[in-house]
């Protein structure tokens, strides 16, 4: 597996200049929160790194993460890091032409046991004996157990793989689960959530591993801190409007046109850990809040259930309807109970006094 200088050759073959590569490393350094001066060192470290074997699996997915990766900035370099490296696995498949694909996969898994990195996109259905997602006649669960079980590390790319995502949303018709839940006890599980995961973070994770020879520190949901260590809210370009108390009230109003805070339209930036505002999307072109739409909270576990309704600050109260207003229900409850207590109290006092009067004809001033 060790093959010094492989990347240099690949870069040359793809017509990527050294300068372009160092520029890529500078971007990566920024995402990993390293000083820009390390870009050159980073470049050297990546070039000298051992070549990892990747296996990319797709289960109950929409291919959004793969597509996201296609849009990576400096894509040629990212492709080399990810695509070309992962292609090794596919070449094994192709080399085994005439064999069944499963056999080829098994061979890779066996030959590189404990050494390869499994990248997984999509959730894994457990219902109907796995028939909700089969590949070459095999169920997703069977494949995941086989491949992730023997991997050096498993990267769950996207919220579906990391947390179950949309297939696992209420009522979870297919019994979909996250990779970590489908194959308990996976070694070095890393969740790169978001819908889809930002390509820059996928690349940054691999660069981290290649250069530091270790996996990054993770948060409690096993997400790397370099990308999920801060709230969207804390890096948001519209934060000043939040603190000032200036909010968009309706779509297209003056506040909206001038980029004020989307908090009142249900923005989930304050409860979502992700680095969108810093790295943005599609070569740094834009990001959802930048185009005037609230954050959906897509990097958080179960966001399809927890963050919905998307356009409300809070979910309604169960039993009062989806869009019920928590405050209105609360005021009703408080007023109702207070009223009941008051009426009951007055009735109690009055009735006690009446009873007392009837009882002993005592003067009213004395208590019974």
């Amino acid at each position: 597996m060790t093959e010094q200088g492989w990347l240099e050759r690949e870069l040359k073959a793809h017509g990527v200049s050294r300068r372009e590569f160092v520029k890529f490393c500078a971007t990566m350094a920024a995402i990993l929160a390293l000083p820009q001066t390390v870009a050159e060192n980073l470049a050297e470290a990546i070039e000298k790194a051992d070549k990892p074997t990747l296996i990319w699996l797709e289960f109950q997915d929409c291919a959004g993460n793969t597509e996201s990766f296609l849009r990576a900035s400096r894509p040629t370099v990212a492709e080399i890091i990810l695509e070309k490296v992962s292609l090794d696995y596919h070449e094994t498949v192709m080399a085994a032409a005439g064999h069944q694909a499963e056999a080829a996969l098994s061979k890779t898994v066996k030959d590189y046991a404990g050494k390869y990195i499994a990248m997984v996109e999509g959730s894994i259905p457990t219902g109907a004996d796995g028939a909700y997602c089969t590949i070459g006649g095999k169920s997703a669960l069977q494949i995941a157990r086989e491949v992730c079980g023997a991997a050096a590390a498993t990267v769950a790319v996207g919220t579906c793989a990391a947390f179950g995502g949309i297939p696992a949303a209420r009522p979870n018709p297919t019994g979909a689960v996250a990779v970590g839940d489908a194959v308990p006890g996976i070694k070095n599980l890393i969740n790169l959530s978001a819908c889809p995961a930002n390509a820059e973070n996928i690349t940054a994770l691999l660069v981290y591993y290649l250069t530091m020879k270790q996996w990054p520190p993770l948060d409690q949901y096993r997400r790397p801190l370099f990308a999920y260590g801060k709230l969207i809210h804390d890096n948001c370009e519209r934060r000043a409007y939040f603190d000032a108390g200036q909010y968009v009230e309706a779509w297209g109003d003056e506040a909206h046109r001038h980029g004020r805070c989307l908090y009142k339209l249900g923005c989930k930036g304050p409860v979502t850990f992700q680095n969108c505002p810093v790295i943005q999307w599609n070569q740094g072109t834009n990001w959802p809040i930048g185009c005037g739409h609230p954050c959906l909270g897509c990097a958080e576990p179960n966001f399809w259930d927890r963050m919905t309704p998307f356009y409300r600050h809070l979910e309604g109260v169960p039993g009062f309807g989806l869009g019920s207003n928590v405050d209105r229900v609360g005021i009703g409850l408080a007023a109702g109970v207070a009223g009941a207590f008051a009426i009951h109290g007055v009735a109690r006092v009055v009735s006690a006094r009446r009873a007392a009067r009837a009882d002993g004809e005592k003067p009213e001033g004395e208590s019974q």
């Binding site: 603190d243 927890r306 109290g345 109690r348």
Partner: protein
């Protein structure tokens, strides 16, 4: 327990009894006032109105949040002190005032329930909290703890680097994520308001019904026990 004096109550003759010790009164009012501030600022934080003017001149949400956080410190300290005092204070401050565990309290609980269900005319005399009010306080304390826990979880992600409050991030998954913690915090506020209103009304009703200076006692600490015969009569 240093409630020896409380146990030596005069068997007869109305008199002033020292019921609410200073820590009880201080924490009571600290909790109450901080909750008022927390509810006002919290309601704004959850449902802000838009401020006009130049952004550079405005810091409405910022101020609301800071006030909310300072009020929360008062609330949390007072709550912790009050809960601690349940184990060091006099018999009226004791934790067993809230749950009718002893036979005496249970009997009192049944009597009070009968009174409230119009099955009994006279109000059963109690010096501290009546057992039903005690149960109400179980609810209030439980909600206050819930508010503290959800509040800590929500603050833990805002706390600056190096702040010890960051350890409370462990609460976030337990509470079902930040958005669920938010929801619980918000709904918890309304439940707490509801129970506090119930408490206030109940105290007023009791004061009138019992002719005791229940309301005054939480300021002065002393309660005037008017009619001890009442206790003997209630078997009849």
């Amino acid at each position: 327990m240093n409630d020896a004096s409380a146990r030596r109550l005069p068997e007869s003759a109305p008199g002033r009894v020292y019921v609410w010790e200073l820590p009880v009164r201080v924490t009571h009012w600290a909790i109450f006032l901080s909750v008022v501030v927390l509810c006002v600022t919290g309601t704004y934080i959850g449902r802000p109105f838009s401020a006009g003017g130049a952004t550079t001149d405005r810091f409405v949400m910022g101020i609301m949040k800071v006030v909310h956080f300072y009020a929360a410190i008062v609330f949390d300290v007072a709550l912790a002190a009050r809960i601690g005092w349940m184990f060091f204070g006099n018999r009226y401050a004791c934790w067993d005032q809230f749950i009718p565990l002893t036979r005496e309290r249970w009997r009192g609980f049944v009597k009070t329930t009968k009174f409230y269900c119009f099955l009994r005319h006279s109000f059963p005399e109690t010096i501290g909290l009546n057992p039903m009010l005690g149960l109400l306080f179980v609810g209030i304390f439980a909600l206050e703890l819930l508010m503290a826990a959800t509040g800590f979880a929500l603050y833990s992600v805002l706390a600056p680097i190096g702040s010890p409050m960051r350890v409370f991030r462990f609460l976030v998954p337990i509470l079902g994520g930040l958005q669920d913690a938010r929801w619980t915090h918000h709904v918890g506020m309304w439940l707490l308001i509801t129970l506090v209103l119930a408490h206030i009304i109940a105290v007023v009703v009791i004061s009138v019904a019992q002719r005791s200076d229940m309301i005054g006692s939480i300021f002065s600490g002393y309660k005037l026990i008017v009619d001890r015969q009442d206790g003997e009569r209630d078997n009849g």
